[in-house]
Structure formats: structure tokens, C-alpha cells
């Protein structure tokens, strides 16, 4: 295999090496890290509103109902998906052994993505909300998302088509799968819903919401884990066959489960039962992936001590295992009757999106940014702190919300307790959530500062 280097590293590269431009990856990574910080502020504010409900409550555009969709959309699309796309632009050319098909198209995609996110901030604060979870953005921004996604897809698929290595590593399948499935899932959740009403619309909405996590963030997140875990530990992947089991079972199983968001609700029983059965089957792709990644680290766990990317990656795998064990379990009717609609659900959702997929994206960013800019990471010690703040804050957040949610569910099931008493009972939980949120936010600040200081810092800090 030919050696591969980034443009900044070209001076030290041997002749005949493949030099990657990485301009698109740079723009996506830098803007996503900036949004991670900005939207983090909103996250802290809405956590505070649970404890002090009158906080910033006199202006319509700062109420909980306006800030929450901004938090969700900003984190999902401004930070996580953009970071994932940036890493895809970094990883795919390297796995294919060719340059990215078009850096110009890539830069245009990055610019358009920023227009979309800024548009989302304005429209959501103004209350221009479509009324569907994860699909709050008005239709004109949805169209721009589709255009940007097609531009992303063309660039990736053309790079894959031009690849030098015939055999495709598992990361390439996952990113291709993500691009294809996302296209249909997004169209279902944002456009097909326009032509339906009531339960029919809700069913499409939940198909989208569930698969936004399952078929957008899961495949692109796992693509990143599959690439960076062997890379960061210099260890080959444990089993190619097992990665195939994981990928192809994911492709088949995930899409069936949308209706488990409406268990016991006004939707057909047979559809609920199907969604439960397939939710349980999710254990197959999850355990195949988790075993494969753990087995890759066999005998290599000591490397976690020195490597921040590996710390994030392997913690992300543990959270993936946990969150995807919770998912099937609380889709069981009996468990669902307790935890559904409670604070358990944000605890679960944050473990998936922050604890797992954001940890993967953070790890990839920590690994890729010094190489793209050919500089040493600004501070290893700050990077370590960012990990521990996110880890401890995250664990505090997840576990208190699970306990609180379970408790809340038990109280709701005892109809002699007035509803307001179940609200008052949760106040201590929300205080801990706010404090954990502050810790997580500190971790985000340290991460964002470290990355930006590396990218913009002095060239003297150049790595050897």
C-alpha cells in the first residue's frame, strides 16, 4: 500500500505518497466543533429551566419550547452530523487510496451546511416549527438539507468508484449505507409526512425519528469507530466476518422499529408487536459490532492510558452496548408502561447521541485534526480533562435521569399521587442533571478550545 499524508504533512512525505488536500474535512470539522460549543450553551440553559422555570422567561424566543428544538437540531445536525461528515471526507479518500473526488464540491457542501444551520437558528427561535420532532425545520430548509446530502453523496460515491483498492473496508459500507438510508429516511420524515395526517403521519414521523438515530448516526458513527479504533491502537480489526454480520443485520432489522415510540398508544397492535420483535433483534447487530471492537482491543487495553482518542472510542463502545440494551428492553410492553414518556427517555437518548456517537466523533476529531494541520495537539492534558469531564458529567446525567425516570413512572402508575407531586419529586433529579450538564459543557469547552487552538495555533508547534 502507498503511504498517505495530508497536504500539511507533504514536506515530510516520501515520493510517490498520496497527498490528501483535506480542505473539506477542515471546514466541516471546525464549524461542527464551533456549533458543539454554541449549542452547548443552549443545552445548559434548558437544563437550568427545569430547576428555575422563570429563568429568561419573559421573552418568547427564549422559552423552553423554542430553545429545545434548537438544542436538538443544533446538536444533531450542526455538531454531530457535520462532524461525522467531516470525518467521512477524511476517512473515505484514505481507505480508497485516492484523493477526494472534488474538494470544490466538498467546500460548497460545507458552505451550504452552514447556511442551513444558521437558518435553523433563526427559524426555530422565531417559532417557525413544523411540529414534528427531529423534523422541526421548515420545508425550505429541508430542501437545502436534501441538496447538501446529494452533494455529499455524489462526492463520496465518486471517490469510492475511483478507488484504488478493490476490497472495501467495513467503514466504506457503513458510510455508503448511511448516505442511502438517510436519503429515504429523511424524505419520509420531512416530506412524506406533509401528505398525511394523524396516526398515519405519526407512524412516518417515528419511522424517521427512530431511524435518524438508527440509520443515520449509527452507521456513520460505527464507520468512524471501525476506522479509528484499529488506527489509533495500530491493531488490525478482530474479524471481517463479524463486521459483515453486524452491517447486514443492521440493514435489515433497524427500519422496522419506529412504532415502538407509540407503544400502548393510538396505533395498531400488530404494528406495535412487530416493532417490539425487531427491537429485540437489534441485539444481533449491536453485539456483533461490540464484540468485534472489544476483541480488537484484546491485549491492547493498556493503550487507553496514553491515548485520548482511544479513551473516547472505547467508552463510546461501552455506551453503545448499554444504550442498545436499554432500547430493546424498554420496548417490552411491561417495561414501557413504566418508563415511556418519563425522564428515562432523555437519559437514554443522551447516552446514544452524546455518550456513544459524539464520543466517536470527538475521538475522530482529536485523531484527525493534528494530522490534517500537521501540528501537535495543543494540549494533551486538556484533552484528558475534556474526556473526564464529559465522562463523569455524562454518567451523572444518564444515571440520574434513569433513576428519576423510573421513579416518575412508578408514581404515574399510582393514580392516588397527584401529577404535580410527581413534578415536585423530580426537582433533586433536575438539579443533579443541571450540575452534570455543566460538567459536560466544561468538557465541550475544553475540547472545542483544544481543537481550535491546534488548528489556528502557531506553526512552531508542528509535530515531528
Amino acid at each position: 500500500m502507498q503511504p498517505q499524508f495530508s497536504k500539511a504533512e507533504a514536506a515530510n512525505a516520501p515520493t510517490g505518497a498520496i497527498i490528501h488536500d483535506d480542505a473539506t474535512a477542515k471546514w466541516f470539522l471546525v464549524s461542527s466543533v464551533a456549533y458543539f460549543f454554541i449549542v452547548g450553551i443552549i443545552a445548559v440553559i434548558i437544563a437550568a429551566k427545569f430547576v428555575w422555570p422563570d429563568l429568561m422567561g419573559t421573552m418568547s424566543w427564549l422559552t423552553y419550547g423554542r430553545l429545545r428544538p434548537l438544542h436538538v437540531n443544533g446538536m444533531l445536525f450542526g455538531w454531530l452530523l457535520a462532524a461525522d461528515m467531516g470525518l467521512a471526507y477524511y476517512v473515505i479518500p484514505r481507505l480508497c487510496g485516492v484523493k477526494l473526488w472534488s474538494e470544490k464540491l466538498g467546500l460548497a457542501t460545507a458552505a451550504l451546511w452552514n447556511v442551513i444551520i444558521l437558518g435553523a437558528v433563526v427559524t426555530l427561535l422565531a417559532g417557525l416549527n413544523q411540529g414534528w420532532e427531529y423534523a422541526e425545520l421548515p420545508w425550505y430548509l429541508d430542501i437545502l438539507v436534501v441538496v447538501a446530502w446529494i452533494m455529499f453523496g455524489i462526492n463520496i460515491f465518486m471517490t469510492v468508484a475511483n478507488r484504488k483498492y478493490q476490497a472495501m473496508y467495513v467503514t466504506i459500507w457503513y458510510i455508503m449505507g448511511c448516505i442511502l438510508w438517510t436519503a429515504f429516511v429523511y424524505l419520509t420524515g420531512n416530506f412524506a409526512t406533509l401528505f398525511t395526517t394523524g396516526t398515519n403521519q405519526a407512524n412516518l414521523n417515528w419511522m424517521y425519528v427512530h431511524n435518524a438515530v438508527g440509520l443515520i448516526f449509527t452507521p456513520i458513527g460505527l464507520a468512524i469507530a471501525y476506522y479509528f479504533i484499529p488506527r489509533a491502537s495500530s491493531t488490525p480489526l478482530h474479524s471481517h466476518k463479524l463486521s459483515m454480520v453486524g452491517f447486514w443485520s443492521l440493514a435489515f432489522v433497524y427500519v422496522w422499529t419506529g412504532a415502538h415510540h407509540m407503544l400502548h398508544g393510538p396505533i395498531s397492535q400488530w404494528l406495535q408487536t412487530i416493532s417490539i420483535a425487531f427491537s429485540l433483534m437489534l441485539l444481533i447487530p449491536v453485539w456483533a459490532v461490540v464484540y468485534n471492537l472489544f476483541a480488537t482491543m484484546k491485549g491492547q487495553w493498556h493503550q487507553l492510558r496514553e491515548s485520548v482518542p482511544l479513551k473516547f472510542l472505547m467508552s463510546g463502545v461501552v455506551f453503545y452496548l448499554l444504550t442498545c440494551f436499554q432500547g430493546p428492553m424498554h420496548s417490552l410492553r411491561t417495561v414501557n408502561a413504566i418508563v415511556s414518556k418519563t425522564d428515562w427517555i432523555p437519559g437514554h437518548a443522551h447516552m446514544a447521541v452524546l455518550g456513544c456517537f459524539s464520543f466517536f466523533a470527538i475521538a475522530g476529531t482529536y485523531y484527525a485534526v493534528p494530522r490534517i494541520w500537521n501540528k501537535a495537539l495543543h494540549s494533551d492534558s486538556l484533552a484528558n480533562w475534556s474526556y473526564w469531564m464529559l465522562m463523569i458529567g455524562g454518567l451523572g446525567f444518564f444515571t440520574t435521569l434513569w433513576l428519576g425516570g423510573f421513579w416518575q413512572g412508578w408514581q404515574w402508575n399510582n393514580v392516588s399521587i397527584p401529577f404535580i407531586d410527581t413534578v415536585i419529586a423530580l426537582k433533586p433529579i433536575w438539579i443533579v442533571r443541571f450540575v452534570s450538564g455543566l460538567m459536560m459543557f466544561t468538557g465541550i469547552v475544553l475540547f472545542a478550545y483544544n481543537i481550535l487552538a491546534t488548528a489556528l495555533g502557531n506553526p512552531e508547534e508542528a509535530a515531528v
Binding site: 417557525l128 411540529g131 395526517t197 398508544g265 393510538p266 401529577f419
Partner: protein
């Protein structure tokens, strides 16, 4: 079959789409075709068959109120579904009458649907007729004046705009009343 996808990108693309569409079509396209209650508005005049009533589309004022409900994100904290759980029917009942379970035929005109996923506040599927206009005015101005310990935001800009306030209350008073489940117990009576 799967081995071939290792080296052949088109094969990988085709296979992942085929596997995806099996479940995709069975769970999104098929259900509304099989379950006609998803699109047929609720109507029952025979007490022997259960609770009576008829679903009618919202009037202009109620629609305006619904748009405010969507705009302010009320649905992030309030669900609109009485689930098939005893606790739901009891808790959201009124003056000794259990709330009827929500059925798809009650939501045929809902766009966007407002089923919701999170109950930071109570469910509103059957809230219509429970509290009078003055209660709602005080409550929207500052929920904590009426319900100590509530964490709902105050909405002074709605209360101070009579058109918006009346529209929103008109929408809320209509919620869940296509099923005529407690004719003698409304606040108006």
C-alpha cells in the same frame, strides 16, 4: 451474496437498499392500507357500542389556537394520548369518570400530529372542558400562581393578546371531546 458486496460497490448499494425497503414498506406503506381506522373519522351514535360522539374538523379559531400550540412547542412537554394503561384512563379522567382510551380515528384531521413523547406536564388528550377560561388566563400568565411547584413557563405574550389567547383556549377546550365521555361534568354545566 454478502461476500460479493466486499468488492462490488453497486452490489453493496443494491443489497443494502433491498434489505432496507422490505421493512420500510411493510411498516410505513402497508399499515394505513390495512388499518382503515387510521383515516376514518370517529363516529358512533349507539351507546351499546361504547362511548358516543363524532369527530368534526376544527373551526378557524381552533385551528389558529392549534398553530400557537405548535409554535410554542407545548407538545415537547404535553402528550395527547390516553394509552391502553389503567393508570392513564384513571389519572386523566375527570370527577370519577375514566378517560376513554385514545383511538386513531380521533386524530384523523390532526396535522401536524401532536401525540408527543414526553410528559414533563400532564397529558392533554382529554383536557377539553375541564378548566374554564379564567383558570387558563391565570395559568398562562403564571402557572405557579395556580399550581405550586409547576415548572411550566409563563406565557404573558399570549395572555396579553386576546385574539391569540382566545384561539388557544378554544383549541384546548375542544381536545378529546369528539368522544362525549362525561356529558354532565363539564365546567360550563
Amino acid at each position: 451474496m454478502f461476500k460479493k458486496a466486499d468488492n462490488n460497490a453497486l452490489w453493496a448499494i443494491g443489497l443494502s437498499l433491498v434489505l432496507f425497503f422490505i421493512g420500510g414498506i411493510i411498516t410505513t406503506v402497508v399499515p394505513p392500507l390495512v388499518d382503515t381506522s387510521w383515516s376514518k373519522p370517529f363516529e358512533n351514535h349507539d351507546p351499546a357500542k361504547g362511548v358516543t360522539g363524532k369527530l368534526v374538523p376544527l373551526n378557524e379559531q381552533q385551528k389558529k389556537g392549534r398553530a400557537i400550540y405548535v409554535r410554542e412547542g407545548c407538545w415537547y412537554c404535553h402528550t395527547q394520548q390516553i394509552r391502553t394503561l389503567l393508570a392513564d384512563t384513571k389519572r386523566y379522567g375527570w370527577r370519577g369518570v375514566d378517560a376513554p382510551i385514545s383511538t386513531p380515528d380521533e386524530f384523523v384531521y390532526d396535522d401536524p400530529h401532536m401525540f408527543g413523547t414526553k410528559r414533563t406536564g400532564p397529558d392533554l388528550a382529554r383536557v377539553g372542558g375541564k378548566y374554564d377560561t379564567q383558570w387558563h388566563r391565570t395559568h398562562f400568565r403564571n402557572p405557579r400562581d395556580l399550581v405550586k411547584g409547576s415548572i411550566m413557563p409563563a406565557y404573558p405574550w399570549i395572555v396579553n393578546n386576546p385574539e391569540e389567547f382566545n384561539a388557544l383556549v378554544a383549541y384546548l377546550q375542544n381536545l378529546g371531546r369528539s368522544k362525549d365521555w362525561r356529558p354532565a361534568n363539564d365546567y360550563e354545566k
